[in-house]
């Protein structure tokens, strides 16, 4: 098991390096001269050349890439923002808590509410409770999340005035973003956990458990839930990716100065260090979450555990 974890962590670092290469290359391909973008078209050629030298963009692609990778992975330095001259790492650190609140609480809501709704629907299969839950879930899977957020702002912030529409001045500001950010994920998770449950409900070993004379409640708790957990965990992983990607758009809607908004402003201003820093951060966040998910799998399922520890123990 330990060896497996080490292997996975090493592999994760490799993936992060690759992701950094991809994002750096994509941002390198963005049309336009960064120096000119910063100083405007009127700037003289000497000033521009000085700026390019300062940013290091006058060097060949490969040199720039390796320089960047060296700083990120060996010195943990994402560099300074081209436009604001602020260290990206510092900025990320300041913005992290806000994104974590939205992402973390969103994730918790996603897992808890989504799974509970899915199980509720599955155990009422074919009845109106099931249909209603699934219709609502379908609507939230389909509607664009930022649009739902706008509608929520109009209703709850503007009309009912229960919460502020944007900003981060009080904790109530976070209520709408957290809920709106998790709605889509909750809906997807509810649908997935419902099908997972349904598959398990029809499994033969459930009939076996009933044939033993086991109480229905215990059958659900001891036999159904653990088996349904596998696909549900996979769903949670997908939901996490959604939360990460969605945070960019969501922070924009609610004017929350988080990492997602930082990245978007970087994209709009072609600020390469900012974009690369944010994306590498997001990739690291997702990878760590995936790793935890895989470990959960191994912990829950003896079949997967056996695969991982097969080097140690021969059957």
């Amino acid at each position: 098991m330990g060896r497996y974890v080490i292997k996975r962590v090493l592999w994760m670092i490799l993936i992060l390096v690759a992701a950094a290469i991809v994002v750096f290359t994509l941002m390198y391909l963005v049309p336009g001269d960064p120096a000119e973008l910063l100083l405007g078209v009127e700037a003289s050629e000497e000033v521009l050349a000085a700026k390019r030298a300062e940013l290091g963009t006058d060097r060949p692609y490969l040199i720039q890439l390796f320089d960047y990778l060296y700083h990120v992975f060996l010195k943990f330095d994402f560099g300074d923002s081209w436009r604001y001259r602020v260290n990206v790492m510092t900025e990320l650190g300041q913005r992290l808590p806000r994104t974590l609140i939205i992402g973390g609480f969103g994730m918790i809501l996603n897992v808890v509410v989504g799974t509970v709704l899915g199980i509720f629907a599955a155990t009422h299969e074919g009845k109106w409770q099931d249909s209603l839950t699934m219709v609502i879930a379908m609507v939230f899977v389909s509607a664009p999340s930022f649009w739902v957020a706008w509608m929520a702002i109009i209703l709850f912030a503007q009309t009912l005035m229960w919460v502020p529409p944007s900003g981060i001045s009080t904790w109530t500001c976070y209520i709408l973003p957290v809920i709106c950010g998790s709605l889509g994920g909750i809906a997807i998770n509810a649908r997935q956990s419902r099908s997972a449950m349904l598959e398990v409900i029809r499994a033969d070993y459930i009939t076996t458990a009933r044939a033993k004379g086991q109480r229905e409640k215990v059958v659900v708790r001891r036999h159904m839930l653990p088996n349904a957990m596998m696909p549900i965990i996979t769903g949670v992983g997908g939901g996490l990716a959604m939360v990460v990607a969605g945070s960019a758009v969501l922070e924009q809607v609610f004017s929350i100065p988080g990492i997602g908004q930082y990245m978007l402003s970087g994209v709009n201003q072609r600020d390469r260090p900012v974009v690369c820093g944010c994306v590498v951060f997001f990739a690291a966040f997702t990878s760590i979450a995936m790793l935890i998910m895989d470990l959960c799998y191994a912990f829950l399922d003896p079949r997967i555990k056996a695969q991982y520890s097969s080097g140690r123990k021969v059957k």
């Binding site: 991809v22 899977v141 389909s142 664009p144 706008w150 419902r194 959604m242 990607a245």
Partner: protein
Amino acid sequence: MTDVKEKESAKSKRKSSMTAEFARRLVKSWSAKLGLILMLFIILACLIGPYFTGYDLNWQDQSLMRAGPSAQHIFGCDTLGRDMLTRLLYGGRYSLLMGITSAVLGAVVGIAIGLIAGYFGGFTETIIMRFMDVWSSLPGMLLCILVSAAMGNGFFPTVLALTIGSIPGGARMTRGQVLSERSREYIEAAESINCSKLSIMFKHLLPNVIQPSIVITTMSVGSTINMAASLSYIGLGIQPPAPEWGALLADGKNYVTTNPHLIAVPGIAIALTVLAINLLGDGLRDALDPKLRG
């Protein structure tokens, strides 16, 4: 002789009854029916609707800037005083075309990659799947944002961005399917009579692994339309004055609080379309594989 004939007729009977069974289940599923009807309605409306609204795409009346719904303009007018309904219907063509193109392109490439990885196995598989790992370590939306930023705005760059974002999912799923099918006896049988690798992959494996891909592709048309809208909203992808639905939203985003119809209308259009596609996808899944119902 008669035995052979009987067998043949039984075989064709079974095949046709499988198709019939599929059609029967599809028609029986209310979600498929509803999705199909909605979808046909939306496509028809976008194709021929613009000619019946009474306004041209660029017809403009500055006195009607951001005007709310009225008898002349049932969905109101946009920020420049153009008829919202007309723009919405024209825009649907962009959104649908973009969603379908990207999802199908992504699926085709993804399936091909998954087939190759799953069938060849070994080193080829390792390389391809490791590559996919990197590819999908960035959530699809982030990748779209980056590619969009690098390629610039407009229809084709956006289609490219959306396609790239949707490839790894299809590849992973196809590979999983291929892995479980590869060990089946009909593949061994095909190999034993010296079928070429290409013919095994496309004639024998593909039909057996494609069903879940069809469902996923249908669903991803919907999520692609959603993603395109998000891209437009954050200033990438397709931008105003193009009437694409996301661009309509982006156009109205500064008036969310004052003129909600500017975003309510295109938003509802997107939600309804994606809903129709998802319903259809659900129905397809039920009809293809009753086991997977849910």
